[in-house]
């Protein structure tokens, strides 16, 4: 049994501009100790998915269908008391902006100790000691005295480590990290990724939400690509980066500048992500897809096995047997000067 199983998740936002289908029939699973990357552009539904896992969606957002099973237990049916225990306890969370995740008027040690008290049976001195140990675990030098300081005395990278320490308070089996390094310098980002790497080596499963394909390439085992609320490709990390099967993934990969490439112009993905209050008919990517055919405007392709290796699915009519799609998709991705078909 997988640690986390998400099936047919539907999330809608009821706004004045109409009903926005932010997540549409999303299914994926995460094994113990596995690192899953969730990538996509802004508005693809990455963060909404992460929030939905813990029932943290605010009005006007609502989970309208599907199932989320954590360790075999249905999260969507869990009573509030149980949910509070899961949230931040068995499932730890790290969000993008550490300044908003920390309370400016309490010391850092007190905030980590509070998480320890809520999620374990440690109290008083024992909770404080555990908090200091957690701060040490996340690589904060001189943790005992740093614990007495306030968030404004921490740099962005150090504050993010504190947030990671809080997420570890309940000894979670799964860590959801939503853009944990966005906005940090590359040097500080490298330090934090080393820390996450170290934690994941201890059998912690990580769902890393990121728009940075470089971060995902270096950290994750498997990748889920989202577009307009849907999963459009799912594959082990090597397969995804070397042999992408969906035209959108291929477009994203060729739009990033890489160190050492000598292209004069970057490839672009023309157009913008669709308005999810009125998504285009058929495949949601067809208005931007260079390979789109008439059939693409009529039928929304499901995630289907894309051929060669077993564990690689893409949502494109090219991989649907009975589709009226002529193809072929003749893109390739150049990695490190080598062409790969």
């Amino acid at each position: 049994m997988a640690l986390l199983e998400v099936e047919n998740l539907d999330v809608r936002f009821y706004t004045e501009g109409g009903v926005v289908q932010a997540v549409d029939g999303l299914s994926y699973s995460l094994e113990r100790g596995e690192r899953l990357g969730v990538v996509g552009e802004s508005g693809a539904g990455k963060t909404v998915t992460a929030l939905a896992l813990l029932d943290l969606l605010d009005d006007p957002g609502r989970i309208e269908g599907g199932s989320i099973r954590f360790d075999g237990e249905e999260v969507l049916d869990a009573p509030p008391e149980r949910l509070r225990h899961l949230r931040g306890g068995e499932i730890g969370m790290v969000f993008q902006d550490p300044e908003t995740a920390l309370n400016p008027v309490y010391t850092v040690g007190e905030q980590v100790a509070e998480a320890v008290r809520v999620h374990t049976d440690r109290v008083g001195e024992a909770a404080h000691d555990r908090a200091v140990a957690l701060l040490e675990r996340v690589g904060i030098p001189d943790p005992a005295s740093r614990a007495t300081q306030y968030p404004h005395e921490f740099s962005g990278g150090m504050a993010q480590r504190v947030v990671v320490a809080m997420a570890l308070a309940g000894d979670p089996a799964l860590l959801i990290a939503d853009e944990p390094t966005t906005g940090l310098d590359v040097t500080i980002e490298a330090q934090l990724l080393d820390l996450l790497d170290d934690l994941a080596a201890d059998d912690l499963a990580v769902q890393l939400v990121s728009h940075d394909l470089g971060v995902v390439a270096g950290f994750c085992d498997r990748v889920l690509v989202m577009y307009a609320g849907q999963a459009i490709e799912r594959a082990p990390v090597d397969d995804l980066f070397y042999e992408p099967k969906h035209p959108y993934t291929a477009g994203l990969l060729s739009a990033i500048p890489r160190l050492g490439d000598d292209r004069d112009r970057l490839a672009t993905v023309p157009g913008t992500t669709p308005d999810l209050a009125s998504p285009p008919p058929g495949c949601r990517f067809h208005p931007r897809c260079p390979y789109a055919e008439a059939a693409c405007t009529k039928r929304d392709p499901p995630l289907a096995d894309s051929g060669d290796t077993g564990d690689h699915q893409a949502a494109c009519l090219a991989y649907v047997d009975d589709a009226d799609f002529d193809g072929p998709l003749d893109f390739y991705v150049e990695v490190d000067g080598e062409e790969r078909p």
Binding site: G157, G218, P257, T268
Partner: protein, 333 residues
């Protein structure tokens, strides 16, 4: 090489940490040494990238170069004229040649002005007539439609807003544009479009860019030359292919090795720098980088000042590194 278009000499910009009368009276005021003695030349038609971690003074340098901030010391020359010696009216005229594109396209556009007004305002300030036709031309030059002129910023996507910011900077036909992290807030697919646009506009209008960025893969793609900045000073300057290959300044090397490459099999000698950039109010003695340097030597904290930028391949070379020990980097690794 031709004469520089814009050139900075001994440029310094210090900010007080507190402005109050009491702080001044009690001598409690400290100074943030954001830009601390920089010499830099920018040539016509080139792209010079300025890189470094946040807080190293990149944006302050960009603003001071255009005299959007008055320098504390040093001079900026544009076509040989000292900008500090110009009257306010003369400086405003100069701004037709010197423009700025801001990082956050949402914050830098007035939400109550239509796109046409935002772009046209620059034309009015500089007394350029035939506004509507010019606005339409500019919007088309940056890949928007002339019908966008009637829209408000909130009706545009982030990438479209950044295009408006670029159109506004180009409205007065400048020759030098400071682009302060122009693509940092954008998704990769949108970023690629803006980078291509900047390159096309450079060819078309013969622009020189100072391209401030922290993403080194982007820098390698756009720049002709690169200047690496650390705590208000330059530690390495040179043509992009030389800065991005050995010999390196140890700081440049650390930055490059930290870039996350979108290649799962990427093997690297990664050096992870300890800690963060020290405070610019009280920078370390000697070489400012010695507290985090992977090849620090015994005497690095003893110099009277930060080491000078020394040409790498003898005099006359345009690749310079401010570290007398940089050759130990290759021996060690």
């Amino acid at each position: 090489m031709s004469d520089p278009l814009v050139s900075a000499e001994g440029l310094v910009k210090h900010y007080p940490t507190e402005e109050s009368f009491f702080a001044r009276l009690l001598g409690r005021r400290q100074w943030v040494r954001a830009v601390d003695g920089i010499d830099l030349d920018i040539y016509p038609g080139e792209t010079l990238a300025l890189v470094g971690e946040s807080g190293c003074g990149k944006s302050t340098l960009g603003r001071t170069l255009l005299h959007l901030e008055e320098p504390t010391a040093g001079t900026v020359r544009h076509r040989g004229d000292d900008l500090g010696a110009l009257s306010a009216a003369e400086l405003r005229d100069r701004r037709r040649d010197l423009q700025y594109v801001f990082q956050n396209p949402t914050a830098s556009l007035d939400p109550r002005l239509t796109v046409g007004d935002a772009v046209g305002e620059a034309l009015a300030v500089h007394g350029i007539t035939d506004r509507d036709r010019r606005v339409a031309e500019l919007l088309e030059a940056v890949g928007l439609r002339s019908s966008h002129a009637g829209r408000y910023p909130r009706e545009l996507s982030g990438g479209q807003r950044q295009r408006v910011g670029i159109a506004r900077a180009l409205a007065v036909d400048p020759e030098f544009v400071v682009c302060d992290e122009p693509v940092s807030a954008l998704d990769v697919s949108v970023q690629a479009g803006i980078l291509n646009l900047l390159a096309d506009l450079q060819d078309e209008f013969d622009l020189a860019y100072l391209f401030i960025a922290h993403d080194l893969s982007v820098v390698q793609h756009v720049a002709d030359r690169v200047a690496v900045m650390y705590l208000g000073e330059l530690v390495e300057v040179g043509p992009v292919e030389e800065v991005f290959s050995p010999p390196y300044h140890p700081y440049t090397w650390s930055l490059l090795s930290a870039v996350p490459e979108p290649d799962p099999q990427w093997e690297r000698d990664r050096v992870v720098l300890d800690g963060t950039v020290p405070s610019a109010t009280d920078p370390p003695d000697g070489c400012k980088f010695h507290t985090r340097c992977p090849i620090v030597q015994d005497d690095c904290d003893e110099w009277a000042d930060h080491p000078d930028l020394d040409p790498v391949a003898g005099a006359g070379s345009d690749h310079a590194i401010a570290c007398p020990y940089h050759d130990r980097l290759e021996e060690g690794s």
